[in-house]
């Protein structure tokens, strides 16, 4: 897509220069050199090269908060994506966090005959299969847990919990031994070529397994399969996030849950919330646990603040400030636990809390929604 077309499609020329986007942007709040309003302005007025070479095009978290607030209904996030895809073509790229290790892993995964060993997390008490109706898409969790072993995250817990829940509902999900990264981070980093290779591989593997429905616990994978894959490929399967499935199962009274005398608060992941409009399902699931109380953060649902980094790019002191501000907000609800539903939120918040210099007022236990539910299941 050319920049002109992107501007047209995102309706950027309707910008009123009201500045609401910059006023609500979590990045602009701390990084005063970044302003979505100015970038919209630049996209319309300046030369293409100047725009593509602007380092600020990589600073956006693509969290969509500005889109939510914009009175002119401008699709800033999609414009940013289109600009990044163009920028990559002339060799521009983001500053990758962790020395680009995550990006290297993803690009290595484009190798067609790769023989990954990524299934070690599947314990004996979890039932999975090689072919069947329903597939569970794990995502890059096995890699995350190794790469971030220094901050002691255990994102695979959510995968185990997801399979446990599916088993509980009488589903034995397919888990692909040669599943690839969904390509989300490469796409948002502007690398369309390798994104497509990963997508094609995943779609073929799913086709081969015979699955008609793919379940996700990772919101980024879900968004990528739901919105981005169909743009480039034909997908003959249904996709669903596990919270949607859980809400459905609760409606049919298929799940019995144990009491939990606790107060929790919930972090809306940007991909699940503003990108896909799933706000109520996770809340419905949380409120289904007897005695469990949900205390909302001041900024929730459509106004929720992102976890500070996106697509393993541009992690900086600004990210840390965003994370600490959000954690403080979570802490202010007086909740015992912060419930998450994205592996990246887990990594980013826990990384921020690991800093010895940050005080107690931001330290809060985190738990993935699926883990919370899997632990509360009666008759496991």
């Amino acid at each position: 897509m050319s920049i002109k077309k992107a501007i047209k499609e995102s309706r950027a020329y309707l910008c009123l220069e009201c500045g609401k986007c910059t006023g609500s942007c979590p990045v602009s709040r701390f990084n005063h050199g970044y302003s979505p309003r100015l970038l919209v302005n630049k996209a319309i007025r300046s030369g293409q090269l100047e725009l593509l070479k602007d380092k600020n095009i990589w600073a956006c978290l693509t969290c969509k908060l500005c889109d939510e607030r914009c009175p002119a209904d401008i699709d800033y996030v999609n414009m940013t994506l289109a600009i990044r895809l163009e920028a990559q073509k002339i060799g521009e790229e983001a500053i990758c966090s962790h020395g680009g290790a995550a990006q290297s892993l993803m690009r290595i995964m484009t190798t067609p005959d790769l023989q990954q060993k990524r299934m070690a997390w599947i314990d004996n008490d979890l039932k999975t299969t090689q072919s069947g109706e329903t597939l569970y898409f794990v995502g890059c969790l096995p890699y995350f847990d190794v790469l971030f072993s220094d901050i002691e995250v255990n994102t695979l817990k959510a995968a185990k919990a997801s399979v446990k829940i599916l088993n509980h509902l009488g589903i034995t999900p397919v888990v692909l031994p040669q599943e690839r990264c969904c390509g989300h981070d490469l796409l948002w980093g502007g690398d369309l070529e390798n994104f497509k290779k990963l997508a094609e591989h995943n779609i073929n593997e799913i086709k081969r397994s015979g699955a008609k429905k793919v379940i996700f616990s990772c919101p980024e994978g879900y968004r990528t399969f739901k919105i981005d894959y169909p743009k480039y490929f034909e997908c003959n399967f249904e996709v669903q996030h596990i919270t949607e499935l859980l809400a459905e199962a609760l409606g049919n009274e298929q799940l019995k849950l144990k009491e939990m005398d606790k107060v929790v608060t919930f972090q809306d992941p940007c991909r699940l919330g503003r990108h896909l409009g799933i706000y109520e399902e996770p809340r419905k699931v949380i409120s289904a646990v007897p005695e469990l109380k949900l205390a909302e953060m001041v900024r929730n649902r459509k106004s929720a603040i992102c976890c500070g980094v996106s697509a393993w790019m541009n992690c900086s002191t600004y990210s840390k400030s965003i994370q600490l501000a959000r954690l403080k907000e979570a802490k202010q609800t007086a909740a015992d636990m912060l419930v998450l539903s994205c592996p990246k939120c887990e990594i980013h918040f826990n990384c921020a809390m690991k800093d010895e210099k940050v005080g107690k007022d931001v330290k809060i236990e985190t738990i993935q929604l699926v883990t919370l539910i899997a632990d509360a299941l009666i008759g496991g």
């Binding site: 962790h98 020395g99 680009g100 290790a101 290297s104 892993l105 690009r107 290595i108 995964m109 190798t111 067609p112 005959d113 790769l114 023989q115 990954q116 060993k117 990524r118 096995p142 890699y143 190794v146 790469l147 072993s149 220094d150 070529e193």
Partner: protein, 154 residues
């Protein structure tokens, strides 16, 4: 098949630390010890700096093997650098194995600046191992302009 394998000249990246392994390689040169030209040395200030990202990048761009060479624990220039290298290496190893790169393609060794002979020996043995393994599973299937530099040795 056999004749093709015999012709295979692997590309091996060796990250050598400034204080021990790099001088060892230098020493090997000065003493005219022979070691295969497949080894491409990248000098780093400390083996502890060789994070998973550097090793993965090398494999992504078509390296057939990666050698990380640091000081011995006892005589590390930065005291903790060699230990750090060993810790980081454990993470790197897990990642490369998980993604399907054979274990033997990645090696960590400790070579002091006085051990020129050891450097030559490690280089010879590691090259022999990689030759036996053949081209890396990633390089074999690389496509696109980005990778043309490695085309000639496919």
């Amino acid at each position: 098949m056999n004749s093709q394998k015999a012709k295979f000249e692997p590309k091996i990246v060796a990250f050598c630390c400034n204080w021990c392994s790099y001088p060892a390689a230098d020493g090997a040169g000065v003493s005219r010890l022979q070691y295969p030209t497949n080894i491409r040395i990248i000098r780093v200030m400390c083996g502890g700096r060789v994070t998973p990202s550097l090793v993965l990048k090398a494999f992504e761009l078509g390296a057939d093997g990666v050698l990380v060479a640091t000081c011995h624990f006892e005589d590390c220039h930065y005291m903790f650098g060699a230990r750090k290298a060993a810790d980081v290496h454990k993470i790197t190893e897990q990642l490369t194995e998980m993604i399907g790169i054979e274990k033997d393609r990645l090696m960590l060794d400790w070579i002091s600046s006085a051990e020129a002979t050891k450097f030559a020996k490690v280089a010879q043995e590691f090259t022999a191992t990689i030759k036996k393994l053949g081209p890396s599973p990633i390089k074999k299937q690389m496509t696109g302009d980005k990778y043309q530099i490695t085309e000639d040795i496919k």
